[in-house]
């Protein structure tokens, strides 16, 4: 059985990203466009979590005033939290995606109430 390595996750991420962009560009329904956006955000999440798991160089720490005498694998077990920057990043992205979806759905609801339609091609009173 092949071992999952970083490239696999990145490929899935890239595939999700491409699918998301394709959805955004081709769909006419505002809710579908929003689903495309969620795919794009989650592709970033997959990459972040994968990088967090596989990239374990001391560079993860960056220049910081917190000191970590241990390096490499040992540091990963001892300091844990400092090495999971990508996971923390992903957690933030999930929250942001939720907030964005909530606001966008509320806006789409408002559009539906005013115009009776959520087709992005129909919502074009302003042009030029």
């Amino acid at each position: 059985m092949p071992v999952a390595n970083l490239e696999w996750f990145l490929l899935i991420g890239a595939f999700l990203f491409a699918t998301g962009v394709f959805t955004i560009l081709t769909r006419k329904n505002a809710v579908s466009v929003l689903m495309g956006v969620e795919l794009v955000l989650n592709s970033a999440n997959i990459n972040l979590v994968a990088f967090s798991r596989f990239v374990r160089s001391p560079a993860t720490l960056g220049p910081t005033s917190i000191e970590f005498p241990l390096q490499g694998e040992a540091a990963h077990h001892v300091y844990g939290a400092a090495w999971i920057g990508g996971n923390v990043f992903a957690a933030f992205v999930i929250i942001l995606a939720a907030a964005e979806a909530a606001v966008a759905l509320a806006i789409i609801l408002g559009i539906y109430r005013n115009l009776g339609d959520v087709d992005v091609d129909e919502v074009t009173a302003m042009k030029g």
């Binding site: 990088f51 005033s65 030029g128």
Partner: protein, 516 residues
């Protein structure tokens, strides 16, 4: 373990004060008395005024204590003169908008509690954008600005234009930030760190490939280009600016843009450039990796200003015209970005500070006219110079300043930008920009012509005065003073901008701290 939070908390007073005001506004809106007409507006404006005061005090504190920069929260947030400059600009914008939204009847009827809450959150977002030096913080700050902005754009819930504006804004915005996040994930993966300094150190030590990092910064540029409405990510701007409530449009075109420029400068200048002499960010900067990225930004700047100026020609709506004009101005400001010298950064800061006043003023005129019963079309401005002499004069001054005519602030800003370009070998770019300015004269003057040369009253008694009220009159005056003053006596602002660039490398790779 030294996080440096508690002892340096005083440098965060503006942000803390802003958050406290935010809480107070929400509490007052929910639990306050029912007949509290205008109370929320006054509270929000007072809080913003106090925040502004604290920003100025912190600015002084940085200077007197000779501390060029203070890092907070494990180096993910920095308080330096560069960030304070943008906080000052954004604070002034929010304060002005809080004041003039207080007299907009439609905002009051839609629920001013919500309006001021969202306005304060966006302001906090810009304050954070000015100071973050970490990818995670950067995303959080940008979204703290963006998400409330989407709601603000659609604040007139029953208005078709406003709903349409917010739908377009949220869909474009979410797509842009999605692409940006994808790029940021790779920045993290390539360098193994989320801090700007860390990425720069990773490139310097050869752990990260600079070409891959540059490509991923290109994706990040989508998100930031969207914020500052640079071409080709400007498509949303005219529709959103036209449909949104005018007070929100004024905000999006000034404070929100300033925040976008702050993070753009800090990110790119910390990762893809370094000062020639580490302690002299006001001097020459050296691009890291392929210097071609400055040419790319130069092309973006040219396309942005040309599209903005050409499309503004045929506009009949003043707000839409100002929207295209603000796209063009994003192009001008980007010029300072390509110079790779402290003088270019200083010119950007100077231009942003002056642009904020003239643009706010122009939008304020639009608000004042529509509140006094006029409209937002250019034809509604007919004879305005005679019907409301002071407003007409102000609008003309703001528009001439936006064109860049002396003796107004916009002229000095352009001189600094073009001088920086010519000095550092970008002559073709400054020629294109100067041509663009000349082109822009046409559509600005068209509005002035409509105000003064059309609908001229035949006899003195024919004038139907348009009363804008003392509140808007005072606010217009407040915008007018810096627009004229910085065109005649600009040295203090120039010194402030120079100091803000010089005292704080917007970014500079800090050597790995050797604390024990």
């Amino acid at each position: 373990m030294q996080l440096g939070v508690v002892e340096n908390l005083s440098f965060l007073t503006p942000e803390i004060l802003l958050t406290v005001t935010l809480g107070a506004v929400i509490a007052l809106d929910i639990g306050g008395p029912k007949d509290r007409k205008g109370l929320v507006a006054r509270l929000a404006a007072t809080g913003l005024g106090a925040t502004l005061l604290m920003v100025i005090l912190t600015y002084f504190e940085l200077e007197t204590k000779q501390r060029a920069r203070v890092f907070l929260f494990a180096d993910s947030f920095v308080v330096d003169p560069f960030s304070m400059f943008f906080k000052l600009v954004a604070g002034v914008c929010s304060f002005m908008i809080a004041l003039f939204a207080a007299k907009v009847r439609r905002i009051e009827s839609q629920g001013e509690g919500e309006f001021y809450t969202l306005l304060l959150v966006t302001t906090l977002g810009i304050f954070l954008m000015a100071g973050v030096t970490d990818l995670v913080g950067m995303v959080v700050a940008i979204e703290t600005l963006s998400i409330p902005s989407y709601i603000l754009a659609g604040f007139y819930k029953r208005d078709r234009g406003s709903s349409e504006a917010s739908l377009k804004y949220v869909l474009y915005g979410a797509t842009a930030s999605g692409s940006m996040l994808f790029g940021l994930a790779f920045l993290y993966g390539l360098s193994g760190t989320t801090s700007f300094q860390g990425i720069s150190a990773a490139i310097a030590s050869g752990r990260a490939d600079v070409l891959s990092i540059s490509l991923m910064l290109g994706l990040v540029l989508i998100g930031l280009g969207f914020k500052i409405s640079a071409a080709p990510f400007h498509m949303w701007t005219p529709d959103v600016y036209e449909g949104s409530p005018t007070a929100v449009t004024a905000y999006l075109s000034t404070a929100s843009k300033a925040g976008g420029f702050a993070i753009l400068i800090r990110l790119f200048y910390s990762i893809l450039a370094r000062p020639e002499v580490a302690s002299r960010p006001e001097g020459q900067w050296i691009p890291i990796g392929d210097p071609g990225w400055t040419t790319l930004v130069a092309v973006i700047a040219v396309v942005t200003m040309t599209i903005g100026n050409l499309a503004a020609y045929k506009q009949t709506n003043v707000k839409r015209l100002l929207a295209y004009s603000s796209i063009a101005h994003a192009g001008y400001i980007l010029l300072g970005f390509v110079v790779m010298h402290g003088s270019g950064l200083m010119a950007m800061l100077f231009y942003i500070a002056t642009y904020v006043f003239m643009n706010l003023g122009a939008f304020l005129c639009v608000i004042a006219v529509s509140e006094a019963g006029g409209g937002e079309e250019i034809s509604d401005f007919r004879g305005l110079g005679w019907r409301a002499p002071f407003l007409g004069f102000c609008m003309a001054a703001f528009l001439f300043s936006l064109t860049g005519l002396p003796p107004l602030a916009g002229f000095v800003g352009k001189v600094y930008l073009f001088a920086a370009l010519v000095e550092h070998g970008w002559v073709w770019l400054s020629v294109v920009a100067a041509l663009n300015s000349a082109v822009s004269l046409y559509y600005y003057v068209r509005v002035v012509k409509t105000m003064y040369l059309e609908g001229i009253p035949r006899r003195a008694g024919d004038v139907v005065p348009l009363r804008i009220g003392s509140h808007f009159g005072i606010m217009l005056f407040v915008c007018l003073v810096p627009t004229i003053l910085f065109g005649i006596y600009w040295q203090p602002l120039a010194r402030l901008a120079t100091w803000s660039v010089g005292a704080s490398a917007p970014v500079e790779a800090r050597p790995v701290a050797a604390h024990k």
